[in-house]
């Protein structure tokens, strides 16, 4: 009787499906970290632990470094010892406290609105017979890639209290004296955020989740007498909860980090958020890294409970919604079909067509938004950029950077996600938590941590000054998004679909390639494209790591921005836009093809 070799054992054990559900009597440890060791349950794998350790180095390393910096007293580089000076200073600072409140307020408002509208939008797009649903969905994608600054200025043109066209139009009405809109306000910030990113990103992320939902589950609810709203609340939303939560937590993290819109729109009213505080601190003549780091840490601490909650909830409630019997019947909208279409199409217009037109137009304008300038139109912006000798190199670097990042994100991180969801390997829960960290400190703060890490770790040192370091850092930036979204979409896929492949004789890799990958392809396409566009637009993370040899377009754009040459910067933005839109189109086509 021949015995099984240990290798085979290891190979399979890794891949034994697991479920996150346990008996109700579990302690906090189990709730936080999933099931505890029990005989055949969890197991070790050395290569996997090496991977975990490597990722821990890249992820926790910079955070520890930042923690150390936050404890340094005195100016950066001339520290006089360790203490809690920076922490005390931040805690005592009433400005920072009020910024913190504003941050929480703005983030929550944005996320709440975006979540509600986003869920509705993506459900309609994915699950009903909305005409041109795929085109509209793509419209939301494009909105995400538009350069935020130009979009902000476009909205100023509409809602400026003095010359904004919306106000002017309203003032033309007899009973309105002063147009009611003021873009330089709390709601102005919320609005621009919503239309320029928060909402479209939600649509991007959620639509695939709704697609992977067995229509029968919804139908069963409606047959039980539930209205669409009740079905949404009790069945659809709980079922896609893993994805919703990831999108929500990630969105919140992102909104804690963003500062460009707040800087422009918040300054006149002195609306400050944590991220603008950080920005100001590191831009001081003696950069206040300690204090900036402390402020950054605050947002990390703010987000931790959300992350822990997200994981516990998902582990307890993650359920397959796509099984081996799934049906996919779009829900007829009936008489609402065309009104819904009109509504969503106008949203796409507001979020995509209008700002995109403004961005492109802006590159040909002498002064952005000033139609009264003479000449109004010019090609100078284009010639400036195209004649810039660094341009070709930067274009190439950006291409390498963004494709590299998207590749790493899609390939490596989806394997990590798979490991976390479908195996019992020791360390996977730790990995799962760790994956959140890279996005939890603002790029502008964490980039210093990366710098210090990369020059101090001997085997990372050679990457310094090459493209690879930018790819690694940009990929780390995309890590949370990719891993968590892919994880959420894997949770949706019934284990039997994989089992059927393995029963047919497919090994793990074949199964992954032919069954798992196509099923998560729509999500993968989304995160791949988002990773691509983040990498191509990245500034904060890579600012300290790029040199003239590996400088990407986004840094070149920064050089234009340093002179407030918005028009020329927009030209670079258009290149970035064209690249991302093109890649997104290809990704969608491939994603849908893979999915059939």
């Amino acid at each position: 009787m021949s015995q099984v070799t240990p290798e085979t054992v290891a190979e399979i054990e890794e891949l034994t499906p697991h479920d996150g559900i346990g008996s109700p009597k579990r302690g906090w440890r189990q709730r936080l970290f999933g099931r505890v060791t029990r005989g055949a349950g969890q197991h070790w794998s050395v290569p996997f632990l090496v991977l975990v350790a490597f990722i821990a180095l890249l992820v926790i390393g910079p955070i520890l470094i930042m923690l150390q910096i936050s404890l340094q007293e005195g100016a950066f580089g001339a520290s006089t010892g360790y203490g809690f000076e920076a922490w005390r200073e931040v805690m005592a600072n009433s400005r920072i406290r009020s910024s913190l409140l504003t941050t929480i307020n703005i983030s929550l408002t944005r996320q709440t609105i975006a979540m509600i509208v986003g869920v509705w939008l993506s459900w309609v797009i994915a699950r009903t017979d909305l005409p041109y649903a795929k085109v509209l969905e793509y419209g939301f994608w494009v909105a995400v890639f538009l350069p935020g600054l130009t979009v902000t200025l476009s909205w100023i043109m509409v809602f400026d209290p003095f010359y904004g066209v919306a106000n002017r139009a309203l003032e033309a009405l007899p009973f309105i004296q002063n147009g009611p809109f003021d873009i330089y306000s709390w709601w102005g910030i919320v609005w621009v955020h919503l239309v320029s990113g928060t909402l479209p990103v939600k649509v991007m992320l959620l639509t695939p989740a709704f697609r992977n939902l067995d229509a029968a589950l919804e139908e069963a609810s409606r047959s039980s007498g539930a209205t669409s709203g009740q079905t949404m609340r009790h069945v659809v939303i709980p079922l896609v909860a893993p994805t919703l939560l990831v999108a929500l937590v990630l969105g919140t993290i992102r909104s804690l980090e963003a500062f460009e819109i707040e800087l422009i729109l918040g300054t006149p009213r002195r609306i400050d958020v944590l991220s603008t505080e950080i920005y100001r601190l590191v831009r001081r003549s003696t950069p206040q890294y300690s204090t900036a780091t402390v402020v950054g840490m605050i947002s990390l601490v703010l987000m931790l409970p959300a992350v822990v909650f997200q994981r516990i909830y998902t582990a307890r409630r993650g359920h397959a919604t796509l099984t081996g019997k799934s049906t996919n019947v779009p829900r007829p909208l009936g008489k609402w079909k065309w009104p819904t279409f009109a509504l969503i199409a106008s949203m796409v217009f507001i979020m995509t067509i209008f700002p995109m037109a403004m961005v492109i137009m802006g590159t040909f304008m002498n002064i952005f938004g000033r139609f009264d300038a003479t000449p109004t139109w010019t090609l100078d912006n284009w010639t400036t950029i195209l004649n810039n000798r660094a341009f070709t190199g930067a274009l190439w670097n950006s291409t390498v950077l963004s494709f590299g990042t998207a590749f790493v994100a899609m390939v490596i991180f989806s394997v990590i996600a798979y490991t976390v969801v479908r195996t019992q390997l020791k360390g996977r829960v730790f990995l799962d938590y760790m994956v959140w960290l890279p996005s939890m400190l603002p790029g502008i703060v964490i980039s210093l941590g990366y710098l210090i890490l990369f020059i101090n770790v001997p085997f990372l040192r050679p990457m310094f000054g090459t493209m690879s370091i930018l790819i690694v850092v940009a990929a780390l930036g995309a890590m949370t998004l990719t891993t968590q979204m892919v994880k959420a979409s894997l949770i949706q896929i019934g284990a039997e679909l994989e089992e059927a492949s393995r029963a047919s004789g497919g090994n793990w890799f074949y199964t992954f390639r032919r069954v798992v990958l196509p099923l998560i392809a729509p999500t993968l396409a989304v995160v791949g494209v988002l990773a691509f566009s983040t990498a191509v637009k990245t500034t904060g993370h890579v600012a300290l790591l790029s040199t003239s040899r590996n400088q990407p377009l986004s840094i070149l754009q920064l050089n234009q921005m340093a002179d407030f040459n918005l028009e020329a910067a927009s030209v670079v933005g258009v290149f970035i836009l064209i690249g991302t839109v093109g890649v997104a189109l290809v990704a969608r086509l491939l994603g849908f093809k893979a999915r059939g």
């Binding site: 580089g77 300054t267 006149p268 001081r284 040199t547 407030f564």
Partner: protein, 378 residues
């Protein structure tokens, strides 16, 4: 305090380690008294230096971020190619750059040869920890003797502070108040700003931000008749409005949304006026300030000979002319004989006392920080 400070630098830079590796036998950074006798790591005669520079074959420069500096990089690359030196010239925002250099140096990595940029951040962060070297000894080895001569530089060989590390080769005149002539007269004076009717009518690039309007407002601090209290009054009681970018500020003034604005440069105004806009806006000759651009050699720089060759070119009249020609619109040079593209918009080098402390010097930094604080209060 001081002891700990010294120790920190010595320890963290790990200079002793590097020394054994790189043949430099003296500690450049810790012992200032010894700096004069410091061996820079350059070869003996100029010819030898040039030869050694070609051997090094490389030079790493950081330049200020913004328009023209990339073009300057191309000029440097071209010029240094004659010496078989391959130049890696990167544009960096100075505030990013200092953090980066400090981190690198603390890890024992000395990657940069030179930095050419607005000196504020370098003065504030790198000079105190000797992240940049004393420049005098470098000037001494240069072939071009004219560089060393005080007379060839307006005001002499001026450094950002007495440690003589950052050589200020250029002063740029910036700032001024921008006045809407329709609302205020062409000869509006600073005292006019305190009129009650101007409450909420004064706009400034956000002075809580170092690079914002704070430098123009620092002018008020430097004037005996104004000073800190009246600046506070101007910012707070007159309900100064802050905006993020200069173009918006100027457009607000031009459109009459504000009567006066701070925090732009004359090129910003010129851009608008070239486009037929903001023709009712003038730049005042008050509230102007000077920003210093400096050249410094980084501690333990990797390519000393190439550095010397570069300095020999850069600080020559020819090099300075190139700098002036390709960098900002209103750039200039302290080098005698260099022609300025916009002489009217350049500082009057012969009478620097009319300006507030030069930004980039120790005092300049301090006054800007004070404006920051005042703006942040309240």
């Amino acid at each position: 305090g001081d002891d700990a400070f010294e120790e920190e630098i010595g320890g963290d830079t790990g200079v002793t380690d590097t020394d054994t590796d790189t043949d430099t036998d003296t500690d450049t950074d810790t012992d200032e008294a010894a700096a004069g006798t410091n061996d820079l790591g350059v070869a003996g005669s100029w010819d030898e230096i040039v030869a050694a520079a070609a051997d090094e074959g490389e030079l790493v420069i950081s330049v200020h971020r913004g328009s023209g500096y990339e073009d300057w990089c191309q000029e440097v690359i071209a010029a240094m190619a004659d010496y078989d030196i391959d130049v890696d010239c990167t544009a960096n925002s100075p505030s990013d750059y200092v953090g980066r250099v400090i981190a690198e140096q603390q890890a024992g990595e000395f990657l940069w040869d030179l930095v050419v940029a607005a000196t504020g951040n370098i003065q504030a962060s790198l000079v105190p920890i000797a992240g940049v070297q004393e420049l005098g000894p470098w000037l001494d080895v240069l072939e071009d003797e004219s560089i060393r001569e005080e007379d060839n530089w307006v005001g002499g060989l001026v450094y950002s502070d007495e440690s003589n590390r950052v050589f200020l080769h250029e002063y740029v005149l910036s700032g001024g108040a921008y006045v809407n002539t329709d609302l205020l007269g062409e000869d509006a004076q600073p005292t006019d700003l305190y009129d009650e009717s101007l409450q909420g009518q004064i706009v400034s690039r956000d002075p809580t931000n170092v690079n914002g309007g704070s430098m123009s407002l620092a002018w008020f601090l430097a004037q005996p008749e104004f000073g800190e209290e009246s600046l506070r009054e101007l910012v707070h009681d007159q309900r100064m409005v802050f905006v993020e970018d200069p173009s918006t500020m100027l457009q607000w003034v031009a459109d009459g949304r504000a009567a006066v604005g701070f925090g732009a440069n004359v090129d910003d105004l010129e851009d608008l006026q070239d486009a037929g806009l903001a023709e009712n806006v003038i730049q005042t000759d008050w509230a102007q300030y000077v920003v210093a651009y400096g050249t410094a050699v980084l501690a333990d720089n990797p390519n000393p000979n190439a550095t010397a060759v570069f300095l020999n070119w850069h600080l020559s009249q020819e090099g300075q002319q190139v700098w002036t020609d390709v960098t900002r619109f209103n750039s200039s040079s302290r080098r005698v004989g260099v022609e300025f593209p916009a002489p009217d918009a350049s500082p009057q080098y012969d009478d620097m006392s009319q300006y507030p402390p030069v930004i980039g010097t120790a005092e300049g930094t301090e006054s800007v920080e004070r404006v920051n604080e005042i703006a942040l209060d309240g």
